[in-house]
Symmetry: C2
Amino acid sequence: MTESRQQLQVDLGDRSYPILIGDGLLGESDLGRYVAGNQVMIVTNETVAPLYLEAARRCFAGKAVDTVILPDGERYKDWETLNRIFDALLERRHSRKTTLVALGGGVVGDMTGFAAASYQRGVPFIQIPTTLLSQVDSSVGGKTGINHPLGKNMIGAFHQPEVVLIDTRTLATLPPREVSAGLAEVIKYGLIRDVEFLAWLESEMDRLMGLDSVALAEAIYRSCACKAEVVAQDEREGGLRAILNLGHTFGHAIETFAGYGIWLHGEAVGSGMVMAADLSRRMGMISPEDDDRVRRLVQKAGLPTTVPGGMTPDDFRTLMAVDKKNVDGSLRLVLMRALGDAVVTADIDTDALQQTLLSFCQTAD
Amino acid sequence: MTESRQQLQVDLGDRSYPILIGDGLLGESDLGRYVAGNQVMIVTNETVAPLYLEAARRCFAGKAVDTVILPDGERYKDWETLNRIFDALLERRHSRKTTLVALGGGVVGDMTGFAAASYQRGVPFIQIPTTLLSQVDSSVGGKTGINHPLGKNMIGAFHQPEVVLIDTRTLATLPPREVSAGLAEVIKYGLIRDVEFLAWLESEMDRLMGLDSVALAEAIYRSCACKAEVVAQDEREGGLRAILNLGHTFGHAIETFAGYGIWLHGEAVGSGMVMAADLSRRMGMISPEDDDRVRRLVQKAGLPTTVPGGMTPDDFRTLMAVDKKNVDGSLRLVLMRALGDAVVTADIDTDALQQTLLSFCQTAD
């Protein structure tokens, strides 16, 4: 796959939707066909609005388009900011036939999706992700939500978009740190389901870091395809879908400990995947060589492989205890049986986990 | 139907659930079979807790039961109070296998249902409604939500319970004003779908007002059956279900104008149904005699038939403009083609509506 424009279908019965991927799609596409009514509310943030809001408006010619511009950052993924979307919808008298449009990264996408799920008990929405992380992860699969002081993404809904439009050209304005954060989730797909893609990433990581548009398009396409396959099999995370959380249980603990927004989500997932590989090795599931391969690839993507300074094993235990994967109070983690083959398990070797936590916490800054 | 224990099935495919109706069910029933995991969180309020919390706990023997007690009143149907449920769930580390239980009236039911819809993107819940209004209306059908300063129930979700347990004995402790408020919704079922039930209500209203348990059980059963039928045909209110909103567009405007909780919801619906009958008459859809029949029955149930003092036609227009039934900015109302035959329409005679609003606002206290 070396073409610059691709289309992918997420197969979810009457909630199926297309993902359009291409260089320069924003502003050239007519998304009016995905809008049932006449009203559109574009939700974006202060960083993205000056760059892409006008182009996004052009995708909805002939519709009554309102906009709401939120502050930028994970720390605003809260009720107060969400409520600004509801305020705007009600002040502009948007009916239940309105369509919301998320223009921005994962925070904008998750909040807009949850606003759409909840406004008048549910209205349609469209995703236009503008960061690599949101293009390969949060814009696909219908998970929406906000954070709670006691846990990330604890309040939300499953709500599928009408369409996802990914313009790879938006990555040109993305800070390098956020490119790396997005690559964490790209690497994850290789680790959980596709060892060939993992090998491709090992050989192409320099092109990806250099924002080569063809390489990026391929990485995005394969990532979305992988996620779409998993979500199609298990939309509401009854089983398989949880493997998409490789590295996320450790990662969420890191994000919460550091304070939302200090570590980028993808950075925390980068470290979390290295921790999951370490634990998988200690439990005899993967070889030391495979563990090294994971660490090296994460490093190559410019991602951290340590934990925040001062974080202790007890901090991890406390923060991981509220993870959504847990059942009746017992911890569940995503581990690797082999590279390219992840599994969700509650069968965790307590000593090995303690060794992993100790070894990462001791090497912290 | 004169038995004291009845069971009704709400037919929604894999979201189907039973409604158990009976005198003394609370505390005698084992609801453990409806709880998938081990954790239960009973949500109730300060008024209901001293009366029924212990009996409700007994329905979940063998489970780990936590409780959260909210302040009582429609004015607490907001995000801050909802968040107290999330706080309790996270502090007590409830997993996504927890079950929430709503013990109380419509406010507790709507908030607990929305908390269940949103906690970790959705957990199961059980309804134990303890007011007549919630027994015949809000506990059936899966509508959940909270209020926004600019409109009632503007933020919420469709989320069906696992089971509804209605113990008619709880009505013994209900203030007479709330009995009347519940009867408003009971009358509504007669007006929209069942003219025979309407005639039965006209003859039995004194027994109902006197809390005759057999009469109450029959009214509840027929009301729930009517609502279950409508909901089964149109779960997400694409069409038919909107007839359940007879009187509610005017009623919501009254509630919002008066300030949440000053008028009871059922009281506002009582007046709203009289206004809908008045407009239906002015538009030549029902006879003056039928209009009188509606007004007399609403009065007989101890309900208001006027609007709040100082409320103007402009107040109604402004507040009705944000109603969820509206499409692309045009007002839709539920009117009656005949008693027992309601219809949702955007085809509203503007002059007749103005006459209705003027006549009710002029006669206000």
